[in-house]
């Protein structure tokens, strides 16, 4: 809408077409298409493997969130945003915090202390409890990363609201 008001030298080279920084490049698209599943797997690996080596929910969550960032850079942020939908990221964040919280409250209800995994009637309850909590943290972090990426990127599209 306010395409006429171009800054003299913008950092975004493709800003004039109203799609922000997006440059359609077959090289980036192909690369992202190939490495996306591997990066996603690495994120889950770091999340789960945090119990036995370095890593954990915070780090793995960031790496999983990176998958969406890569898709956004390769296929256009607005396109990816329309594809993922605005609710999913916020939903994941809420789900992660709730899962963590309910794990703690659940152990209290079963007669233990807060987050005392031993009271859950599963074999190796502590180990799987820790893994579950790491997964919940990963959900929170990846959801926040994705949501922030979309919201910050939305500011430079052609909404016109704060470009003038």
């Amino acid at each position: 809408m306010s395409d006429a008001e171009e800054p003299p030298v913008g950092n975004g080279s493709a800003a004039e077409d109203g799609r922000g920084l997006y440059v359609e490049s077959p090289i980036i698209m192909t690369t992202v298409r190939v490495i996306t599943p591997f990066v996603f797997t690495l994120g889950l690996f770091v999340m789960f493997h945090g119990a036995d080596s370095s890593g954990g929910g915070f780090q793995g969550g960031v790496i999983v969130g990176t998958v969406v960032l890569m898709l956004g850079i390769a296929f256009g942020i607005e396109t990816t945003r329309d594809w993922v939908g605005p609710q999913l990221a916020v939903g994941l964040v809420g789900l992660g915090v709730l899962a963590f919280l309910l794990t703690g409250v659940g152990s209290v209800l079963l007669g233990g202390g807060f987050l005392e995994y031993e009271v859950y009637p599963v074999p190796h309850a502590v180990k799987y409890g820790i893994e579950f909590v790491e997964l919940a943290i990963g959900l929170v972090v990846s959801g926040i990363v994705t949501g922030l990426f979309f919201v910050i990127a939305a500011g430079m599209s052609d909404d016109g609201s704060d470009f003038a």
Binding site: G50, S53, S54, Q59, G94, I130, V133, V140, I144, A153
Partner: protein, 178 residues
């Protein structure tokens, strides 16, 4: 922490930090900041803290750089050819004074790898190292402390991330789309 590689890393990180503060072009600043984060991440690994190093590499060097780049996409680069920002002497004095005050705490830190320091010989540390595997069945004692012994703290951490993130999303969403 005295090898040539470590000294080189510290010099690199300090140079990147100064460059981040002084460069006039914001894009250059962000790139220097990314390099700084990567250097710090490698230093963490040298200090035997791979968990922290992984976080710094993923968050500091990765996500923060992307978010910063998106943020400056709407800004304009300075027109003149000056490379460095002119330094305000008063601001410089305040920064140097702050660094000097913080540096006085350095002498209180134990030497790197000092086996007799409180960090290594404390009862709590010894308890975790001796019992973490039997009690939690995870091999990484850091994770055991994080998610089991100190799970309540970690819940607080997750809630901080949650509230900060949701707050930002609500404000920015209104700002951008509303």
């Amino acid at each position: 922490m005295t090898g040539a590689l470590e000294v080189g890393l510290v010099v690199f990180v300090l140079a990147c930090a100064v460059a981040t503060a002084l460069l006039r072009d914001v894009l250059g600043s962000i790139i220097a900041f990314g390099a700084y984060s990567l250097g710090i991440a490698v230093i963490w690994v040298f200090l035997r803290a791979p968990d922290v190093g992984l976080t710094e590499a993923a968050v500091g060097a990765g996500i923060m750089t992307v978010l910063f780049l998106l943020t400056i996409a709407k800004t304009v680069r300075p027109a003149d050819d000056e490379v460095l920002e002119s330094v305000d002497p008063r601001a410089l004095a305040v920064s140097v004074a702050l660094v000097a005050v913080l540096s006085t705490t350095l002498v209180a830190l134990p030497a790197v790898g000092d086996g007799g320091s409180a960090v290594a010989s404390d009862n709590v540390t010894e308890y975790y190292l001796a019992n973490a595997y039997e009690e939690t069945e995870v091999k990484n004692a850091v994770t055991a402390v994080l998610a089991a012994y100190r799970g309540f703290d970690t819940l607080g951490e997750a809630v901080v991330v949650y509230s900060a993130g949701i707050g930002l999303l609500v404000v920015l969403d209104r700002e951008v789309l509303g």
